[in-house]
Symmetry: C2
Subunit: 481 residues, 2 copies
Amino acid sequence: MAGDNEKKLVEEITSMDVDFAQWYTDVVRKAELCDYSSVKGCMILEPAGFAIWEMIQNKLDRRFKDTGVENCAMPMFIPEGLLQREKDHVEGFAPEVAWITHGGYEQLQERLCVRPTSETLFCDYYERKVHSYRDLPKLLNQWCSVVRWEKTTRPFLRSREFWWQEGHTAHATAEEAVERTEQMLNVYADFCEQELAIPVVKGQKTLKEQFAGAIATYTIEALMHDGQALQSGTSHNFGDGFAKAFGIQYTDKDNKLQYVHQTSWGMSTRIIGAIIMVHGDNDGLKLPPHIAPTQVIICPVMQKKPGVLEKAEEIREALKGANLRVKLDDRDKNPGFKFADSEMRGIPVRVEVGPRDIENGQAVLVRRDTHEKITVAIEELPAKTAELLEIIQADMLAAAKAHLESHTFAAKNIEEMENILDTNKGFIKAMWCGSRECEDAIKDKTGASSRCIPFEQEQICDCCVNCGKPASKMVYWGRAY
Amino acid sequence: MAGDNEKKLVEEITSMDVDFAQWYTDVVRKAELCDYSSVKGCMILEPAGFAIWEMIQNKLDRRFKDTGVENCAMPMFIPEGLLQREKDHVEGFAPEVAWITHGGYEQLQERLCVRPTSETLFCDYYERKVHSYRDLPKLLNQWCSVVRWEKTTRPFLRSREFWWQEGHTAHATAEEAVERTEQMLNVYADFCEQELAIPVVKGQKTLKEQFAGAIATYTIEALMHDGQALQSGTSHNFGDGFAKAFGIQYTDKDNKLQYVHQTSWGMSTRIIGAIIMVHGDNDGLKLPPHIAPTQVIICPVMQKKPGVLEKAEEIREALKGANLRVKLDDRDKNPGFKFADSEMRGIPVRVEVGPRDIENGQAVLVRRDTHEKITVAIEELPAKTAELLEIIQADMLAAAKAHLESHTFAAKNIEEMENILDTNKGFIKAMWCGSRECEDAIKDKTGASSRCIPFEQEQICDCCVNCGKPASKMVYWGRAY
């Protein structure tokens, strides 16, 4: 069992049942994912946190490119006049942007904001680049950071600067824009399930929660371990609204001038918060093998005994040869400390190997997700470890799915909603008449906001949970980050 | 030979002998590497340009990681007080930073600048993270954009925002910092030679040209086709200057407090300007195969004839199978246009295949660098193309080396320097006494600045070219971008 040092280390993490928010902060800090900076509200992505983001970038970027998307880089600044071009958009973002007023010692003639999102820059570019139907579609994306001047901030979940990707597309027809909006939402949902082991609910945002300037916003919503929801990726259909504001027109095959139809879609470092809160436990972080920067850590036992470190290095090379991401912890620390440390950092599989194991030609694999120990012949380690990683990936998704299902409830009226939210935590499926008044009232009474109108609809009952009028829309509600 | 369309297309690029600056701009624009934006002095990296940067990032990042470097992400803002902490550093950068004064509708209590470089942020972080000798070395890097409020700008070469990587390390001893500074300069030089086919001169900057806050700046200097120099990567040794300004201390093995020793090193999108100006010709861009996003383009001839497109697709799959980056140009354009287009975009190898070729079971490989045509049996295409790409890579490096050597001259006095610069263009090796006065005078008289004191020294003569006093330092001088 755990040694003294291990206990001590683990005790530094607050139990999630005692204080979930503190548990979250503890995991972020002890696993060295993220540090506060001297810039209020801005965070530092430390190497362990950034390595997860790099894994996400690689895998998501490949999926984008498979759909024909190309990367580019836009300026980080937007002139005030350009931001104001689309009315709804500027209203949505102007209150929370950072303004540049001086370059060197000189005052600028026109203020520049630091991009909170880049629709206006892409529109400005497309206006210059799109002339004929042959120039369409435009399928561009950029990986960058954006700035929104938030009042309250939390690591990964909300900060004044965050890292993300933003895709911006322009199409000849409205249908193509709808298709692309759906396609990218599906890319996000598949990515979350397959790589992050996070099941999501797919649906459309209500008008109230829609992106500034969009005609439809699609979203994927995930459920955290504490029963709170987290919006994990969004895909917006702009119709031709931006095209009209920016004059983005092309001549079609009949030589007629037409406006383009546009979309945008984004996923951010916020998703790392979801990984922490969906999978983590009281021992710390728990990373899905597909995106774990280190999948396997080798912890030698009694490493000063002759032959132990040599054998551990041999095992490392064998695992590397099987294309696994592996590290050897040969620090001068006792095994108990190393075990707890590897668990806190969420490494999916630990290999323990000591003198007795070596004598017997074997090693012990320890699963991070279940703590199960499996004795394996050393020559079988590469194959068995690769296999085990896939099992862990599948089991983590199954566990997250089970949690999502057991924490999704149906309610027929507002009292039921309140009761459920007070006793259980999670998503509530309930009918809604479609009015903004009822949406606001439900939020006021229960603290739950509309997460989405899911694509998979059910008829829970016939009436809106708030006003009792006939209702045909089923909505996922939840308290959210 | 070239068809009408081809001629027309090629004529759009100004000849480099007529106007090199215009040739450069033409290539940048026609190859769609980079576009101007509505933000004065800021550029848009278009997909073709960004794809080159992605190749550079991948290859350089792997080289960094092989030396133990980890990636992270720092905030893009620096509070004014933090920027001012190191005296020389703030003096160097304050005149050219952009200032944030407002967040949303509120004025900030302390102004923030957009990072021109991030030494101060890394120092602030290291001050909190480094306690013991066990925490050292710290070897961090970030890929990001930085902002310097330049007056005059040119695509890739000088813009208000540019993309780069900045590595920042902290070490226990002065020796380790020197070693790391040299190591990273060698990484850059090797990368330029092996991947970009650009030979460089390695050396140390004079005090005048040194980075603000450094005790030594190492540089790699490349020679463009017009004989002008381009600083292509720098590596700085800070000694313990920043450590003292920021209080970055650790306890050593004897439990004594010590200051760390630091380095930083960077390479930027500027290097894409070097690729253009070292390799390009009057047909356009010429990309070295190792970093060409598309290495091979297949241009079917008479593609409407039955079987031609099918065979072209078959060839594409075969080349993909050999791990080559390949595209098929099946646009409804004539071959002449496609040939010229592929040359303008710098794709290293073109495969031409038409009905007669197919009948004979062969295709034609055309080298972008030499325009040489090679007839190859279709089944041998994957192996032959892979081989040819390596030959092109080597030949491009050899050609660039020959240009560098034939454009490097020795001068014994200032008249010789002026004569050479007026008749030939390139680097001039000349002796220097070491005084700032002579360095300034040489610049005034010849327009050539000191590029570096090369690590490989020669004794050209015994006296400084300007003052005639005894001189032991040989300096590379050149007119520079």
